[in-house]
Subunit: 109 residues, 2 copies
DNA sequence: CGTGTACGCCTAGACAAACTAAGGGTTAGA
DNA sequence: TCTAACCCTTAGTTTGTCTAGGCGTACACG
């Protein structure tokens, strides 16, 4: 009913997830933790957003996944960036930079 | 059907519209032109997004509106920022700055 | 005079993305 | 034993933006 979190990540979640996989495969939970930590708790990644995003991106060929064990011995699904995923990350990053610069330009006017 | 423009403005349109009214009332068409010009044509404001956004914001008390004549003698609906609208603009600007800084932090990692 | 073009506004419907709010199972430790 | 952290899943809702039309007016130009 009431919205507390207001789609703060709209349009950037894919990019952030792709980015966090750039340096190697991670599982969902780890991706969420990483993003929260890197953003100093400004970004909070809801599971209900994250997992569907992962499935979506895998379906689009940007990621592959497989079950494996974490370093603490738990089963988890690890996601790995594909070549197409890297390209997508680059494209989204360019586009994001361009957009935010434009918005900033308006705000400075 | 196919999406060409991908919701590029998602979440920022309200802020941009409020910002463009900061220096005085404008009508819808003028707001769109202004945003396109200020952003050097990076942002394109679709009428189907803009007008519903204006109605929404008026309903929320951020804007008031009235019919008046443009300097070229046409009838147009002019929107004016309310006190609440100014507060909203300030809040959204703070939040946007915070968010983009966080995203940038992740991208730089 | 007709006709195109820029000016202006309006709206229904589709759609994607993110969210809320559950549920489930596992491991470790108090 | 029981709690908390770890990890995944998904149905359903909400929202905003977009597409794709429609309407009417003023003015310039041939």
């Amino acid at each position: 009913m009431a919205r507390t979190n207001s789609d703060q990540l709209h349009g950037t979640l894919d990019m952030l997830v792709l980015k966090s996989l750039e340096s190697g495969p991670l599982h969902g939970y780890a991706i969420a933790l990483r993003l929260e930590r890197l953003s100093k708790d400004v970004l909070s990644v809801e599971e209900g957003s994250l997992y569907p995003a992962l499935y979506r991106m895998e379906a689009r060929g940007w990621l592959t996944s497989e079950w494996a064990l974490t370093d603490t011995g738990r089963r988890a699904r690890f996601y790995r960036l594909t070549r197409a995923g890297r390209a997508q990350l680059a494209a989204e990053t360019r586009s994001w930079t361009r957009l935010t610069a434009a918005v900033q330009g308006v705000l400075n006017a």
